[in-house]
Each structure stands twice: as C-alpha cells, then as structure tokens.
Amino acid sequence: MDKVKWKNICEDKDKRPIVQEYHNWEELPPIPISLPIKGAIGTTGDWRTFKPIIDKEKCTKCGICWMYCPEGTIIKNEKGEFEVDYVYCKGCGICAKECPTKCIEMVRESEE
C-alpha cells in the first residue's frame, strides 16, 4: 500500500487526481485538504429551499447574476443566455436580489 500517495497531490499539479481516495488513517495526509474540483462537498443543490427561475424574455443578459453568484452555478450558454446549474445551486437568492430587471424569481421547491 502506498502510504505517501498524498504527496503527489501536494507536489505535482499535473498529476493531481480528480478525487482523492484513502482507505484508512495511515494513507491520509497529515491534514484534510480539498482540491478545486466541481462539487467538492457533494450535490449542494439538495440544500435548496427556493429555486431561482430566470425569465429569459425579461433578461437583458447583463451578467450581473453570473458575477454575483457565490458558488459559480450560473452558466452562460452558447447563445449568451444565462442558466442555473440546479445540481449545485443552493438557492441563496443573491442573483434574484441583484438582478436589475428583476427577471429572477425565487420559487419554493414544492410549488414549482
């Protein structure tokens, strides 16, 4: 068993595995670390109570929601439209609050 495989994660940025796999305490690095990968803490969309729905008719594509989203879950598609990644969006509502045209509505999950 390679007990020092964590060293690769620290030393070589090109060989970093997407997901770190450890089987027991001896394999672990001295401290817990997270690497910048998508969804490091799981599908955080499960935490959501209110879901942001973008009204594409009213949207002016200004990009303010995209800029303010703390989790990077607003995505610009090929057409230049903005969409929400509902797998990871926690429903904090900052996008709706900041939208200058108020085209984002927060809808309770069960009432959608």
């Binding site: 060293k7 305490w25 690095p29 001295p30 817990p32 670390i33």
Partner: protein, 418 residues
C-alpha cells in the same frame, strides 16, 4: 517575498543575558522569517529584543508583524507558516488563554510553529510570577510542550525545537516553557553558537514550495479547514496527531543526541534527565527551574549519606511514559512536584496525575507522593526541597505522610499566620 538566507555575523560567544533575551537570540540563530507578538508580562522582553534586532537590521530577511492581540498573533503566525516560513512567537498566562482558539488551529494544521512561554500564574487573583498552569492548559491541543530549566537550555531547546517540529514525519507546533521572572528576568552566562554551525544543525529554511502538506501557491491551489461530516475522516485525522506524538518521542531523543554531538551540551535522553539515580531509594520529579535547584538538594543529602536522586521532566507532551516507568522501577518512593494545578484531577497536580496514570497497569508498585508547591511564583527554597526529599525518606522508612496531605496530595509550603 521574504529573502530566505541573507547573512549576518554571529561567532560563538558567551553573553550574560536574561532568559528572555536567550530566547530572542535563539530565534535569531534559527533565522526565523516571521515574528508576530503582543507584549505581556513576563514575556515582553523576548519580543522587545527581537524588534530591536529587526529594527537594527541584525535580522535581515525577518518580518516582524505588530498585531492588536494574542489571538491575532497566532492567527498571523498560522498564515505566515502556511505560506512556508519559519515562525516564532512568545507569550504568557492570560495572553496564551486569549490565543487558545488559534492554538488548536495551529496543531490541527500541523504547522511547525515554535512558541516560548514565560509561564505565569493564571488570574484571578492577578499574578505574573512563575506557575506552569498556563502552558499546561494547552495539554490537549496537540502541541508538543517542553520545559527549559536554565538560561542556556532556553536557547538550546528552541534550536532543537525547530529541528524536531520541521521534520516531515512530525510537523507539529511546540511550546518551550520556563518560569516567569525566575528565568525570564534574571541574567546568567549563555553561549550563543556560531551561526554556520547552527545552520548546519538546523534543517534548511523552507523553500518557495513550502511545507510538504500545506502551502499557499496559486499554481497548486488547495483548501484546508473546511467541514468534515461525522461520517468523514475526522477521527482518523485526530488519531494521526496522537500517533505523531508517539513518533515524536524517538525524534526528540535523536535530535537531543545530535545536539550534543554538534554543541557538546547534553540534556539526558531528551525526554527526561536523571540525576544520581543509580542506587537511589527515593527520588523526586521536577520540571522547569526547580529541577535544577533540586540537583543541589540531592547533592547536599548525598553528602549526608542519603540515597536520593532526582529526575528532570523535559517534555510534558509527548509524555515520556516508558521513561517514567523505568525511573519508578529504580526507587521505592517517587515524589512528583508540580508548580501548576489541574483542579479536580486525581491529584490536583497535572504531572503527578500523568505519572500515576503512566504507572497504572505497568506492574510497578512504587509509592507516588504528589506534591504541589510554589504556585504564582511563591519561593521554593533549597531548604524546602531538601525537606521534600526528607519527607520521601520518612515515607519510605516509616510510612508516615506529611502534615499537609490534602485529598491525597502534599501541598508544601501552605501559609500559616499567627
């Protein structure tokens, strides 16, 4: 960016300096790169001297951070160490208590930070004199804790600390404690070692890649300190800290013996130092400056023909369980003298509780007499220590306990005013 190695001249010389200044010289000899500190009695002159060094340009390559509290001291030192630098700070009593949250954080991040504690009694009532309760309150933080018992040992132990802490198998922070005023503010000759020799002894300063397990590098981004859910590896990371303390015992012995080869000064096996223990019938364990004075007490009683010895406990964390068992095997009665309190613990004294715990189940049936004395800087004279040894001799010969036995512990030197 801090330049790692710029030169300053330091030839081997003997200076008559205060214990606190010896700590400052040790930080200089270790070429620490970041110092952050807040003044608190009796530690203040450690960082006063260091700020003087930095101000005069005698420590090129060192940044001195002024902060508004001890909590920020440790927070900034953690930041500096995370970036991959050798760091140093010092504090005392209430300052350490204010720092406490960050003390846990430093050990949990496994940063090799070295901090000196000029120990003082916890308030209230307000007290600024020698008492190790402050550093011992950090018992369960994961930091290593050692005691220096002489001016020279303050200097030497800080140098050894960097070599122990920065070992890639260890990576733990460490406190070096010594009694406030008794060592911190008295002057004695201290040998400051030749800089080239110290550089040879210590590991090289961390390079731009930082420590092996944590660093701040935009090219290799990482995050530390985020949430671990109950089903995650939290238990296992805690176990790793405990296991590393066990490994550190060997490392401490190795570095102490290396130190002796380099500089010719010996500190027992690193964890404890035995004194005239070969045919001793009774012995006493001390730590800090009173361990040195106890050697004089032992000499005087040996001259009178008594078979007594003493042991200096150098490390409280990791606790030298095996060495304490071996010491206890040699004698019939073992005194353990604490200049600190652990209220509500089995004996009321932190080290005596540890010694009893170490002996339980070891098959050694040596009688242990817990002693508490000298709290808050109360003077413990040579005569008092001689009497402690005589108390142990009497306990061995007749089974008679001293008068001031309270809840199983001998509170030596309680005031009685007529």
């Amino acid at each position: 960016m801090i330049e790692a190695k710029q030169d300053f001249k330091q030839e081997k010389e003997t200076l008559i300096i205060k214990g606190n200044v010896a700590a400052s010289y040790a930080a200089k000899s270790a070429r620490v790169q970041v110092i952050s500190a807040y003044p608190i009695t009796p530690q203040t002159t450690v960082v006063e001297k260091l700020s003087e060094f930095v101000d005069k340009g005698e420590m090129p390559g060192t940044q001195y951070i002024k902060v508004e509290s001890e909590h920020s001291v440790m927070a900034s030192i953690i930041g500096a160490s995370t970036a991959g630098t050798r760091t140093f700070t010092a504090t005392s009593g209430q300052g350490l208590f204010y720092m406490y949250e960050m003390v846990h954080w430093a050990a949990g991040t496994r940063l090799p930070i070295v901090t000196t504690i000029a120990s003082r009694g916890p308030a209230p009532p307000w007290n600024i004199w020698a008492d190790f309760t402050d550093v011992i309150s950090c018992r369960d933080t994961g930091w290593m804790i050692s005691f220096a018992s002489s001016h020279q040992e303050i200097y030497d132990d800080i140098l050894m600390s960097y070599k122990i802490c920065e070992d890639y198998d260890i990576l733990l922070p460490k406190f070096v404690a010594y009694g406030g005023f008794i060592l911190s503010h008295t002057s004695k000759p201290v040998i400051i070692e030749d800089q080239a020799k110290v550089d040879d002894f210590l590991p090289p300063l961390p390079d731009e890649k930082g420590w092996p397990h944590i660093f701040l590098d935009p090219e290799r981004p990482m995050m530390h300190g985020n949430l671990i859910m109950p089903a995650g590896f939290y238990n296992e990371f805690r176990l790793k800290i405990h296991y590393t303390h066990a490994l550190a015992k060997e490392k401490i012995k190795e570095v102490t013996s290396d130190f002796e080869k380099f500089f010719g000064r010996s500190y027992g096996n690193g964890l404890i130092e035995e004194y005239r223990m070969n045919d001793a019938e009774v012995a006493i364990i001390n730590y800090g400056e009173l361990a040195m004075q106890m050697e004089e007490a032992v000499d005087q009683l040996r001259n009178e023909g008594y078979k007594v010895g003493c042991v200096k406990l150098r490390y409280f964390r990791p606790f030298p369980v095996e060495d304490i068992i071996n010491v206890a095997k040699k004698v019939k009665v073992l005194g353990v003298a604490d200049r600190a309190t652990a209220f509500g613990s089995p004996t009321g004294g932190p080290v005596s509780s540890e010694v009893k715990s170490a002996l339980y189940g070891s098959g050694v049936s040596t009688k242990v007499l817990p002693i508490i004395m000298g709290l808050g800087g109360r003077e413990v004279s040579l005569e008092q220590q001689i009497n402690q040894l005589k108390t142990l001799i009497k306990l061995n010969e007749t089974g008679e306990l001293p008068k001031d036995m309270i809840e199983g512990t001998f509170w030596d030197g309680l005031l009685e005013v007529e």
